[in-house]
Symmetry: C2
């Protein structure tokens, strides 16, 4: 089994309304030192396969097809042992 982690983040220059809202909420409860904040997704996947190279190919395909909207989001992934 291969354990993978996928990070999906909003591209630079694209507005992140959720991040703006959370930043505003943090300011309103006294965390004035928050200069900027952006929220992405953190996806933990267990893959029932053993070939790491094949797993990378599959992960890339999953990100492109479903996990990330590549028009406005970037993605990266890491494999664990």
């Amino acid at each position: 089994m291969i354990k993978a982690t996928v990070y999906v983040t909003i591209k630079k220059g694209v507005l992140d309304p959720q991040g703006v809202a959370v930043q505003g909420a943090l300011h309103s409860i006294g965390f004035q030192e928050v200069e900027s904040l952006r929220i992405g997704k953190y996806i933990e996947i267990n893959l029932d396969m053993d070939d790491r190279a094949a797993a990378e190919v599959q992960l890339k395909a999953m990100c492109e097809k479903l996990l990330a909207n590549t028009v406005v989001e970037d993605y990266r992934y890491e494999l664990e042992a």
Copy 2:
């Protein structure tokens, strides 16, 4: 300025409906090898402060008060240089 990353994940044993839905969607488009999948939040924060110890205290407070629902979510954070 200190750059921090916060990871908010759903606790083990707590149902992750979003993860279940995405796993189902991946299966339906042919990614049968996905055995399990859980989705958390990945938050990038720029803090307008220089004291790393103070930043850790602030981050912990932000997580406890707003970023994570500690009843059902775990959090961890990392500081960059």
